[in-house]
Structures are given as C-alpha cells and as structure tokens.
C-alpha cells in the first residue's frame, strides 16, 4: 500500500490558522504579563493573514484534496473571507468590553481562533465527516465561549443549555448522516449526489436521513422548531460573545446547508424544499411575533435573528420548481447575499450594545437606548440605519437582501410564502421602529457620556455607513455572491 502525500496547497489557510492557534496557546501561556494584549494582537494578525492567504491561493478553480474530503472553491473562499472579516470586527468590538469586566483572558482569543478554524473546515468540507468535525470544533469552542463569564450564573446556564441542546442536535445530524450513508454507501458529497442521481439509493432510507439532516441544520441556524436555545443563549452570554454567536456562525451554517443539501442532495431538492418551506415560514412568523414583546434588546435581536434566518432560507427553498432548475443560481445567490447582509447588520447592532455598555453597566434593555439622539446623534443614526435595514426599508442593505429573496420566491411561484413574509415584515417593522422611537422620541434615562475607544468608534461608524452604502450600491456584493456560486457549482 503506497501512501500518497496529499496536496496541502488548497488548505493553506486552514493549516496556517491551526498553527497560529497553537502559537497563541503557547505564547500566552509563557508570556503571562502581556498575555492579554498578545492574545488579541496575535488573533487579529491570524485573521488578517489568513484572509491574505485565502485570497492569494484563490484561483477560481474547484480543487479537491485529502482524498476528496476537502474542497476548495470560490464560494468557500468568499465565505471564509467574510468569516475572518466578521470575527476580526467582533474581536475588536469586544476587546474593551471584556477588559472592563476583567474577562479579556487569552483563552477567549484562543477559543475564537479555534472556532474560526472549525467554521473554515465546515465551509470547505466535501465529506460528511469533515463537515461534522468542523461543526464540532466550532460548537465546542462556542459552548466554552458562551460560558466564558464563569462567575455569572446566567452565562453558565446559557453555556449549559447550549451545550446540551447542541449535543442533541449533533446527534441528530450524525444519525441523519448515517442514514444517508446507509442509503448511498458513501459520505462524500459528490458521491452521494452521484448515487442519488443514478437512483441507486434506497429512497425511503434517504428521506428518513434527510429529515435528520434538516433538523441538524435548522438547529445550527437557529430556526423554528429548533430555535429554543437562541433567545436564552443570546441573552445569557456576555454581549461580546453574543456578537460572535450572531454573526460568523450564520455564514458557516449557510455553508453547511449548501454543502449538505445542494452539493449532496440536489436531486431530491423538492423534498427538502418542502421541509424548509415550513421551517422558514414558521421562523418568520414566530421570530417576528415573539420579538414584539421583548424588553431586552439582546433577546429581541435573537428573535429577529430567527426571522432573518427564515428569510435566508426563502432563497434556498426556491431553487427547483417542478424539476426546473434554471432558477437555482439566482435563488441560492440571493440566500447567500441575505446571509452576508445579515452578518453586516448584526455586527453593527450588537456593536451598538457594546458601545453603550461600560464597566458595571450592561446596555441590555431597549430602554437603555432612550434619548440616544441627545447623547450622540451620530451613533443614534448608526443604530437607526441598522434598525431600518433590518426592517427592510430602503436605502439600506436589508432592503435589497429582502428584495432578492422575495424575488426568488415569487419567481418560484410560492406566493403564499411571499405573502407571509411580507405580512410578518410589517409586524417586524414595529419592534425595529420602537428602538428608533426610544432613541429619537424619548428623553435619556442615562446621561453618562459614551465612552469607547477610538478604534471601536471608527469601525462602528464604518459599519453603519456600510449598511447604508451597500444599500445604495448593492451590485458589487450581489455579483460576487452570484459569481462565487456560479464558479463553484
């Protein structure tokens, strides 16, 4: 038996990040005195350098390595760059927040980098095992991060809840994978697709497995009926962790859905589309209705996140109609655009909560935003941009995200879903408007000046401007999404 040395080149970024994770672990262990800032700067360096490596090794070709367990394509590269980007911003926003609470330990950054590595593996997996390993790597790091503020009962509880439910969801996913393996005899996505295409797979076993796969994906995306953990974990985790939780993992979850369902099981698309239809509609309805009565803004954003992920699924479920596939690219790229848009908005919204918080004070209640226009007109405007964007009002990116997925749904002829989405958007607008209302129409409860480091202020401003600017000129990002998918399919 001869051993073939695999081609490491397509996995250069993953290898680099893995090495850097070890470097961070070792250096911060030995250099205790500067461990905190060292951890921070090394992780930022890792993310930025990884972005350069990913871009440098990007060739627009689809290449496989490690016995076809690993795939490198443009979609994966684009999503990875977005993941680095959002992780880097999340770490930057969170730094002084954590320092104020004395929990800016180097382990925080180590876990964040390990989590990034997990997401990268998920995005580039071509095999169910690689996918599972990436998922667990991300999830385990996240469980620890959620419980990171170990002196806080709420944070520990959230970590526990997330861990138990997450383990259950992983079990469901594994079970589904084993069923698919039983039906098709392979765990490789392209092999699964081949087997389904040739109708060699046992259909009923395959569909049975599919149900569990969809359940696992739904849990990771946090959509109904697997959304229970989302509000509690978002609220319980420290805001800096919630910020991480609500951004990059959504992109990884999107990649997971695309790899499993589209790369692997495209030929039974109409079956999983039907499941996603109910999942998406239920998420949009429940997310928006439940968000109305929230007084805690993190919880409100958690429910809003549930509805946004439902919207994102609208793109995934409109690909194939009556066996016709020419809508697929348009539909999937609109879902991808939605996911990216959501991450940009989500970064800014949690970034605002961090901005208003300070040592000993969490700006968690919606009332903490009262009168922000009097305290800081500019940051009130940033928050207003984000809220209107999430509500889907132009000129903000959220409008084009909604337009793109609704366009896909209408093109697929699912008018009832479009109607549900639209009616719920109006209801959703109510709670976003309430945030704008408290900022602009109410008197401030808290007149302390906003105190935040200059880098957070600058980046958050840029983030707010991006929400508006991408709403005025969305073409570039849309084309990148479409092109990345086209080159990868």
């Amino acid at each position: 038996m001869n051993f073939v040395v695999p081609d490491f080149y397509p996995a250069a970024a993953e290898i680099f990040v893995a090495v850097m994770a070890l470097v961070i672990m070792l250096t911060t262990t030995f250099a205790r005195s500067i461990a905190r800032s060292l951890g921070y700067f090394l992780s930022q360096f890792t993310l930025i350098a990884a972005a350069f490596i990913t871009i440098a090794t990007m060739d627009g070709q689809v290449s496989y390595t490690f016995s076809n367990m690993f795939i490198s394509d443009l979609m994966g590269d684009f999503l990875k760059v977005m993941i680095y980007f959002s992780m880097a911003i999340a770490l930057l926003y969170g730094r002084s927040y954590l320092a104020d609470r004395n929990i800016d330990k180097p382990e925080y950054y180590l876990l964040a980098i390990l989590m990034t590595l997990g997401m990268m593996v998920m995005v580039t997996s071509n095999h169910m095992l690689t996918m599972y390993i990436g998922l667990e790597m991300m999830s385990l790091a996240l469980y620890a991060l959620v419980a990171f503020d170990r002196d806080s009962a709420r944070s520990t509880e959230a970590g526990m809840k997330y861990f138990v439910l997450g383990a259950l969801a992983s079990g469901l996913l594994l079970y589904g994978m084993s069923m698919v393996y039983g039906a098709t005899g392979t765990l490789e996505f392209s092999g699964v697709a081949q087997s389904v295409y040739n109708q060699a797979a046992n259909k009923s076993v395959l569909l049975f497995g599919l149900v569990f796969l969809v359940a696992g994906i739904s849990f990771k995306l946090g959509v109904v009926p697997f959304h229970m953990w989302v509000p509690d974990v978002y609220q319980g985790a420290t805001t800096a962790v919630t910020l991480i939780l609500a951004t990059a993992p959504k992109l990884a979850g999107f990649a997971m859905a695309v790899r499993l369902l589209i790369w692997g099981l495209f030929d039974i698309a109409e079956q999983w589309q039907t499941m996603l239809m109910f999942v998406a509609a239920a998420s949009i309805i429940l997310g928006n209705l439940a968000a109305i009565s929230q007084t805690n803004i993190k919880r409100m954003l958690a429910y809003s996140g549930i509805s946004h992920m439902g919207f994102m699924l609208l793109g995934l479920l409109s690909g194939v109609v009556d066996g016709e596939r020419h809508f697929a690219l348009n539909a999937y790229s609109s879902a991808m655009f939605y996911a990216v848009a959501y991450v940009i908005m989500s970064l800014a919204s949690f970034g605002m909560i961090i901005l208003l918080s300070r040592a000993g004070f969490e700006a968690e209640r919606i009332d903490d935003f009262k009168g922000l226009n009097k305290r800081s007109p500019w940051f009130a405007a940033v928050m207003m941009f984000v809220m209107f964007s999430m509500a889907g009002v132009p000129f903000f990116i959220g409008f084009f995200a909604k337009l793109a997925v609704l366009q896909a749904v209408v093109a697929a002829g699912y008018f009832w879903i479009a109607a549900v989405a639209v009616v719920m958007s109006v209801i959703g607008a109510f709670y976003y408007l309430r945030v704008v209302k408290v900022m602009y129409f109410d008197e401030p409860l808290d007149t302390a000046p906003i105190h935040a480091p200059a880098d957070v202020r600058v980046l958050l401003s840029a983030n707010g401007i991006a929400v508006a600017a991408l709403g005025i000129a969305p073409q570039a990002l849309m084309s990148i999404c479409a092109y990345a998918l086209l080159a990868s399919l």
Binding site: P394, L403, Q407, S425, F430, V436, F441, P474, Q475, M478
Partner: protein
C-alpha cells in the same frame, strides 16, 4: 433641450443639502442651519423651474429622461423622467419645501438642523418618487420617504406623537410591501424588466390584473388615504408640527393618487375598469361621510385633516370615471389641494404658535386682534370650500362635470357635498375669527409678521391665479392625460 440632468438635481440637491445642514450640528449653529436650509430649498426650487419652461407640452412622452444601470443583477435602472402630470408635482414639491423652511424659521427652537435636514431630504426623496420610471427606484424612494416624516412627527409632534408616528409608518409600510410583491410579479411576467413603461405595454390576464390592482389599491389607497384606511391621517396631522402637516397634506397624500395614475390605470386597465364601481363607491363614501365627520370636529387641525380626506375623495373619484374632464379635474384638484391645504395648515400653525391650542372653542374674535391674518384665512377657507375664482373651485367643478357624463347620481352626491364642505369650513372660520374677543389669550394676540405675511401672501397669489386662469396648469398636463385615457381604453387581455 439641455444636457443638465435636471431631475437628478431636483432629487439630489435637497438630499445632499440636507446632509450638509445636518452637519452644522448642535443648536449653537441654528442660524447657520436655517440660512443654509433656506439656500438649499431655494436652489432646489430654481433647478426645477427649467422643467416647466423647457417642457414640451405637445407630447405625452417622458421628458428629461435619465437612464443609467443601477443594479444590473436584477436589471434595476436609475431611470428618471417626467410627463405632463408628474412635472407639476416636482415643482409643487420644491415650492412647498421653501415654504416649510420659512414657516419653521422661528417656531422650531430645538434640534433645528435635524428638523430642516429632515424636510430637505424628504423633499428630495419625494421628487424621486414623482420622477422615477423604474419600479424598484420608485419603491425605494416611496419607502425611504417614510423615514424622515416618521422622525418629524415623532420628534417635533404633539403629546400623542409616538402613537401617531408608528401608526403612520406601519399603515404605509403594510400597503407598500404588497405593492412590492405585485412589482416582483410584473418583473417576472415582463421577462425581467422593472421599467414602468414596459409594464404599461405588458399584456396580462384578468385574474392577474385583478390581484395586482388590489395590491396597488391597498398601497396607494392607504397613502391617499381612502376610506376605510384613512384613520392614520387625522392622528398624524394632529400630532405633526406645522411643517409636517403641510408636507403631509400638500405632497405626501398626492403620492398615493399619483400612484394610481402611474401604476394602476395604465398597467392594469381592464381590472381598473372592472373595479371602478368599487373605487367610486369608496370615493363617494370618503366625500360624503368624511365631510360630515369633519363637521363634528372640535380640533381645527383634525377638521382640515378630514377635509383633506374628503377632497382626495374627489381626486380618486375623478380618476375612475375615465373621461378627460374628470381626470384633468382630478389632477387640478391635487395641485390646488396642495396649495390650499398647505395654506390652511399654515394658518392654523400661525394661531397655534401664539396660543398653543388647536381647539376651536378656545378661540373667538380673532379678527379684532389679527385683521391681516383674518383676511388671508378667509381667502383660504373660501378656497377650501370651493368658492369660484379660487383654485378649489376649478378641480371640483371639472370632476362634477365629468361625473354628470358618467352617472347623474354620482354627480348629484358629489355636488351636494360641496355644500357640506362649505358648511364645516366656514362654520369653523366663523367660530374662530368672528364674534367678540373670547378670552384674555385671544386679546393678547399679535397680527402676523413679515415672514408669515410673505408665505401666506405667495400661497394666496397661487390660489387666486389658479382659480382665475388655470390654463398654464392644464396646458402642461393635457397631452399626458389624453394619452393615459387612450391607453386605458385599449384592453390588455
């Protein structure tokens, strides 16, 4: 024809000017903010004037067209252009903006820069609505214009402003999202075009037409507002500051009516004909029932708000009788209502600034202390009641004449309501202005100053000019109205 992108200037000068005003920051710089806002508003008006002087009245085609790709991924274009109907609204809007800036000059004391900026940005967005020829571009302006008005009502409004602002926003958003679905359907049916002019030519089955018609009816009906979705308007008006009420009545209500002309009638003509009895019934309810509601109001602003609904009922009535006289009358009525309702709200604002009350019962005998004001108020009240020789008369008279051709009883109902209109306006006028001086507060009133005289005087000139010689207005729209009716008469089935 010039190569200057006049419509882009009309849209973007106020928006960028508004941002500039916003940059002046805190109230320490209020005088600068005011001066800058006035300058921007005047420049905004000046750039729209060549639209009138350079307008070719002989054609119904779109003029001053600008076309650039915006989001090629979905074939969305930055496509602007005006015809004889929309050009008038662009100019009216720019004009009203100047008035609003002047009217808020001394009255608004806190967050001046934000107030002025909100109105300027709103004015630019509304110009965008009137000149957009791309469905998505139209929608984007249509929605985005909600944001500044929401803030204006919520920040500078009366005691119940928050409720009113949210109600206003959600009502209009609900309507316009349905329109978005209709637009996406049209996009698909037309093979991937968001061009409104392409949609005009698109053949559609009667079922699709009916669904689209109702989606548009909800979107524009809320904005007009038509009975029974009118309830947001009195709330919004009562709570809004004077400038907000003026823009709301003079321009924002016209957006809905304009939507019928640009979307409903030409895109789904068969469904429009089929559903005309429904719209006519709703319009008549608005005209008759709302007039009686107005009669019972104790709050001046609410009274004028209800009278607006009733006047807008005439407009939708005129649209759906499909004859040139009624349609042209309806458009004239829209312009006239822009002047008259703006003036009515400004008059109430003048009183409110002095007395901080809008209750009719708190007034009486104002004429003894404010004779100049009383004269202006008289003129505008008469115009609101539709007195001949004022602009209010022309539109209503044309619509009623058109209605006679259509159906005698419709005309009869509409015409008798003119009496109720006169009753509620003049009765309010009598209670507020005439009689003995009611109380000490009224006794201390000072007559209007030069600034107030200026804006009321200009509006009075327009109201009279339009009443005595409406030809400059009708001339511009004539070709477009004829073409619209010709287009509607051809079935798309």
């Amino acid at each position: 024809m010039t190569d200057i992108p006049l419509l882009s200037l009309a849209v973007w000068v106020p928006i960028f000017g508004g941002l500039l005003v916003l940059a002046t920051g805190s109230d320490r710089n209020a005088p600068l903010a005011r001066a800058l806002a006035l300058l921007v508003a005047i420049v905004g008006l000046v750039v729209t004037l060549p639209l009138y002087t350079g307008f070719d009245v002989g054609t119904s085609a779109m003029q001053f067209v600008e076309l650039m790709p915006w989001v090629p991924r979905f074939n969305i274009n930055y496509h602007l252009g005006v015809d004889g109907i929309s050009v008038l609204f662009v100019i009216l809007n720019a004009f009203i903006t100047v008035i609003v800036v002047v009217a808020g000059w001394q009255v608004i004391e806190h967050k001046v820069a934000q107030y002025m900026a909100a109105f300027l940005i709103m004015s630019g967005l509304m110009n965008g609505i009137f000149s957009a020829l791309d469905g998505v571009l139209f929608y984007v302006f249509f929605e985005a214009s909600l944001i500044p008005l929401y803030l204006v009502i919520g920040i500078w409004g009366g005691p119940n402003r928050v409720y009113a602002a949210i109600k206003f926003f959600l009502y209009t958003l609900a309507g316009s999202l349905l329109m978005l679905i209709a637009m996406l359907y049209l996009f698909m049916e037309s093979g991937g075009s968001f061009n409104i002019l392409d949609w005009h030519q698109l053949p559609l089955g009667i079922e699709a037409q009916t669904l689209i018609f109702f989606a548009f009816l909800v979107a524009f009906g809320v904005k007009v507002p038509m009975w029974p979705v009118h309830t947001w308007l009195p709330d919004a008006h009562v709570e809004a500051p004077t400038g907000g009420s003026v823009v709301l009545a003079a321009i924002a209500l016209k957006l809905g009516a304009y939507g019928f002309l640009r979307f409903s009638l030409p895109i789904v003509p068969d469904a429009s004909l089929q559903q005309a009895p429904l719209v006519i019934t709703l319009s008549l309810i608005a005209v008759v029932y709302i007039s009686f509601v107005a009669l019972a109001q104790a709050d001046m602003k609410k009274l004028v708000a209800y009278s607006s609904i009733s006047h807008m009922g005439f407009v939708t009535l005129g649209f759906f009788m499909f004859n040139p006289l009624a349609l042209e009358g309806a458009v004239v009525q829209m312009i006239s209502h822009g002047f008259v309702s703006a003036a009515m709200f400004l008059c109430i604002g003048v009183l409110y600034d002095r007395m901080h009350s809008r209750q009719i019962a708190d007034y009486g005998g104002v004429v003894h202390r404010m004779p100049k004001f009383a004269a202006f108020f008289m003129l505008f009240a008469m115009a609101n009641a539709g007195l001949p020789a004022t602009s209010g008369f022309v539109g209503e008279f044309m619509v009623v004449l058109g209605a006679v051709q259509f159906n005698f009883w419709v005309a009869f109902l509409a015409a008798t309501t003119l009496i109720v209109g006169a009753a509620y306006t003049l009765w309010m006028y009598k209670r507020v202005v005439f009689g003995p001086v009611a109380n000490d507060h009224v006794d201390k009133l000072k007559d209007i100053n030069g600034r107030e005289f200026a804006f009321l005087g200009i509006l009075a000139l327009f109201v009279l000019a339009m009443g005595l010689y409406p030809f400059p207005f009708t001339e511009v729209m004539h070709a477009s109205v004829d073409e619209l009716l010709r287009h509607v008469a051809v079935s798309k089935l």
